[in-house]
Amino acid sequence: MIDKFRAKFVEESMDNLHDLEEALFLLEKDMENKELIERIFRAMHSLKGGGAMFGFNHLSDFTHHLETIFDWVRNGKLKVSTDLISLTFSAIDQINFLLKTGDLSKEEDIQNQKVFIQRIQAFLTVTNSPSDAASVNTASDQEAGESEEKSYLISFIPQKELLQNGTNPLYLLDDIHALGDALSIAYTHKVPSLEVLDASANYCIWQVLVSTAESINEIKDVFIFVEDECELHVDLIAETAIVGQPEVKALVSKALSSNILLTPDDFKKGQWAPKSQQPAVRDEKKKVAVKEHKISSMRVSSHKIDELVTLVSELVTIQAQLSLYAENNEDPTIVSLTENIQKLSRQLRENAFDISLIPLQSELMRFQRLVRDLSKDQNKDIDFIIEGGDLELDKNIIENLTDPLLHILRNSIDHGIELPDERIAAGKAPKGTILFKAFHSGANVIIEISDDGKGIDPEVILQKAIHKGLVEADVQLDKKEILDLLFVSGFSTRDVVSDVSGRGVGMDVVRRKIANIRGEVTIESEKGKGTLISIRLPLTLSIIDGLLVAVGSNQYVIPISAIDKIYALEPSQLKQSFNNVVVIDSEQYPYIDLRKVFQEEEKESAEVIQMIMVKAEDKITGVIVDNVIGEYQTVVKPLGKYLKKQEIISGASIMGDGTIAMVIDTSRLLHNRKLKK
């Protein structure tokens, strides 16, 4: 049971951490922003509180120190600085680590944590005193712990169910005691006799008198996790520290013997009040869940979504069967019913796929982090701009996209953007820019990563490719073809494998990974000006609009998105052509006969030749098929591990009549052909 809660806590904390990181990025740009500081503080507070509650003691301890820093920041005792932000970033990594491992057991880890905490504490003692003397004053006051202290009466009246959520009220009291001098009073008069006592219920009421320099909000924050399960009052009873004074003790013992709760009024009669005595901000009753809590989003396990999408895919298949049946049985009732079902299933499908989309944003944080850390490491100054981060993509695509994108970004920082001096020498602004841009284009999503760095010298690439024996020495290639060599396996621009990019793998892996999610990657670069890498991706993986064609005895699906035009040609038009080039509208196009590719026997001469013009990597190639059957929306199913080596076929699709049509991966088809040539 508790494991389940722990898992939930970890999951939520990851969200918190994510939020924290995001706020930190914003804070870096706007160091004075109070709201952000508050947000960071909140996130840390939740981590600390939750950590203690779910047995992540090291986590709780660690975040406590961080929280203190940001408490100082929020009270103006400490200024936000770049150092502080860097420290917090590394702290986030540590928290991440702690969340994953739980409490530390290795001596080494514990030592590391200690060192880290000391670094944090160093911030508190140095009091990086930039400006106002006042802030220094309050800081020292805190140590002396006198004049700024006020006294509060906290009445904590929990409901019976308090203990059922695993809350230990004594921890809360401990927290209060940590704020300053405190005196707790426990009223136990409501505890029933043993026969009727419910061991899982809470019968106690507590009151705490505390003298502290912390604000009233700080005190309330302690109870933040139980606010729905208790009645809580926090009242200012004196402007000075009164805990420990004999009069107070008398009041307390009187309250205990009479079992009558202390009220703020009891303290009014006291002698210690120099200033106005009104109970400050009487907290509204938090007991009832008056807050109208609207749930605008909910968390669903990705497993359930996958299942939904699978079911919808099945439905689409069955629905196609039904349509076929209706077509053949010209019964008007069935036809109209089928049409309605078709409409519904289409809507359902769109909805289901919409649900399975997640915003790119969720991964961008990692990229920002990478850019920040790497540029600091390499003393490069880089402005990382993101456009279109709210774009949504299929979860499976995003999962497969992260590594290639990280690699591309690393390349940009590593090899693209120059050091500030070099940039100035080249007549550029010292600060480099990496622009990450995502946008829709038809049924595709395009992601572009561009930098204004030194670009790629085609000559260097070509020499290297010749040196590695990837191309012949006397080869004639245009610039685009040369840049394409970067994607050939066995090509890596750096001889030395650096820690950052070029871990022995290069752009060939990027291209392969992107191809796995049916995407395409291209590169453009201008020497001295920068590089642009663009990735074209399908919106979703599992359903495509396809053109059904026949070749030999089989049916195949060609994705519509790859098709430019379809021509019906006279056989004579082919005969005139030589070297597999066809002339259409006085333009020359290379062509492929699918029968040859699929090793089917040659077809006897047909009257019309169906030529489908397919575009891939900016080139148009003709593909000859036997027959064009029609346009279908199909669910692409994987072929499984045994047919993974099958390169040209990217999956299979079940047609309405239960037969199977194979889905052709056009870019692989054209690519393979190029290699053969």
């Binding site: 047919l643 040209i648 076929i649 079940i654 037969t659």
Partner: protein, 149 residues
């Protein structure tokens, strides 16, 4: 010990009897009218079939075992295996005839005597002698490796 009990599904390929671990068998199917061939695959890969909306590749065990004179008859069947320790690894295996389910003890399996390779298969889990008949138990892990190659 109970853990030593094994359940086998035996099948016939021409004059020989083989078996697979019954716990890793998903379905036994008749040969459908069409097995959609996949271009550019080795000859033992017969193609793919549609099994309840899933695409299952089918291999011809007779070709894998290097048999000649292959004919399909009324008894020809597809055994769909699903090796539990692997992902999306369902595979249809075409055999001449499915025979029976045998419950036996692992201790009774004798080491299979192989003179060289049996077609493309290089190891068997063992051989069971039952009513004077040799039943060779196919090592599914080995089989799937052969197919992936």
């Amino acid at each position: 010990m109970e853990a030593h009990d094994i359940t086998l599904l035996s099948f016939q390929i021409q004059e020989d009897t083989f078996a697979v671990d019954a716990l890793q068998v998903d379905h036994i199917l008749e040969v459908p009218p069409v097995i959609t061939s996949v271009p550019n695959t080795p000859s033992f890969m017969k193609g793919v079939i549609n099994l309840h909306g899933n695409i299952i590749p089918v291999v011809d065990m007779r070709i894998i075992l290097d048999k000649k004179d292959i004919t399909n008859g009324a008894d020809t069947s597809i055994i769909v295996i699903n090796p539990t320790d692997q992902q999306d690894a369902r595979l249809g295996v075409l055999v001449d005839m499915v025979k029976e389910v045998i419950e036996t003890k692992r201790e009774l399996l004798k080491e299979t005597v192989l003179e060289g390779k049996k077609g493309m298969i290089d190891t068997f889990e063992g051989t069971l002698v039952l009513n004077d008949e040799f039943i060779h138990v196919i090592d599914l892990k080995n089989l799937t490796e052969v197919v992936v190659k």
